[in-house]
Assembly symmetry: C2
Homo-oligomer: 164 residues x 2
Amino acid sequence: MEIICTYTYICVVKLEQAIQSTKFKSEVQKAGLNILYTAWWLKTVMSRELKEFGLTHEQYNVLRILKGKHPELMCVKDIACRMIEKNSNVPRIIDRLEIKKLVKRATSEADKRETVISLTQSGIAVLEASTKQLDAAYADTITICEADAASINELLEKIRENEN
Amino acid sequence: MEIICTYTYICVVKLEQAIQSTKFKSEVQKAGLNILYTAWWLKTVMSRELKEFGLTHEQYNVLRILKGKHPELMCVKDIACRMIEKNSNVPRIIDRLEIKKLVKRATSEADKRETVISLTQSGIAVLEASTKQLDAAYADTITICEADAASINELLEKIRENEN
DNA sequence: AACAAATACATGTATGTACATGTATTATAA
DNA sequence: TTATAATACATGTACATACATGTATTTGTT
């Protein structure tokens, strides 16, 4: 078992500190906890930056997904399948964005079951301003190199190999 | 930039499939999304197994933390600082465990502000049964080797280097 | 064409997250 | 010693998650 790990000490100490635990059954078990903790940390960093724009983490994601197709309209299910957390209740998130007048709802002409969503000018402005600030915060906070990031991507796909 | 990645194709395709997106600004940005998605996936696997025991993800974590010190009692803040998601509302989670008679509350003699929590016999039994099933499900689902897991642990610590 | 099934979304409930505030107790300071 | 601050927890609110169910519309079958 050959592990190249120049940060062994920091590794162990940091997750241990975070969850006050030293007893891990294995590196695999520890990796699970580490992924959960890191995800929580990322969301916290994100939420902190979004707060001044009156956006939550999930509301921002919906705006970002809409921007990806803009000016094309998207229906609710197309937004839902792009969400990171697959059980997100997209209609309800859209409710809140609609109240803030960042998006508009309409019934699809082609299929009246579908609700199509569009970004308003205000929605675009808020998204751009918050994205700018978020990117800056991430750049300050996450300083790993592209190669390390690529390794993470490879290893996480490997973990989800038996996704079902 | 030297990246050893034997799974490049699978990598790219899988996160793309999951969130229906191909436009990542960088490997670092993709890694962020990958961590969030993998965490969601892990929680989903966990919740599915816990369902038959009537436990949620967070309720299970509280039981597990209590077990770590058992038969010693723990106060609410000591549980809270061991939670993975640091903003968990531990008193409310304990409310639900108490209703199911898996834990008991009492006021600390030493400091009457503190509520001390103890596992009931029933709580221990449920925890052991659910842990057994959870471990089996994880063993089936997560098949990476210890060395890869160790690499993940190293890289995630590196991501959180500027934790604040 | 008429009925059954599937689809798209809205909505309801229990639980959890994130954060603010209230209350009792303990620690600190004037 | 009394007032003030800090601590520990409970509780309230808005939003999100997880899942079930309801309603309108479309599709598929006979």
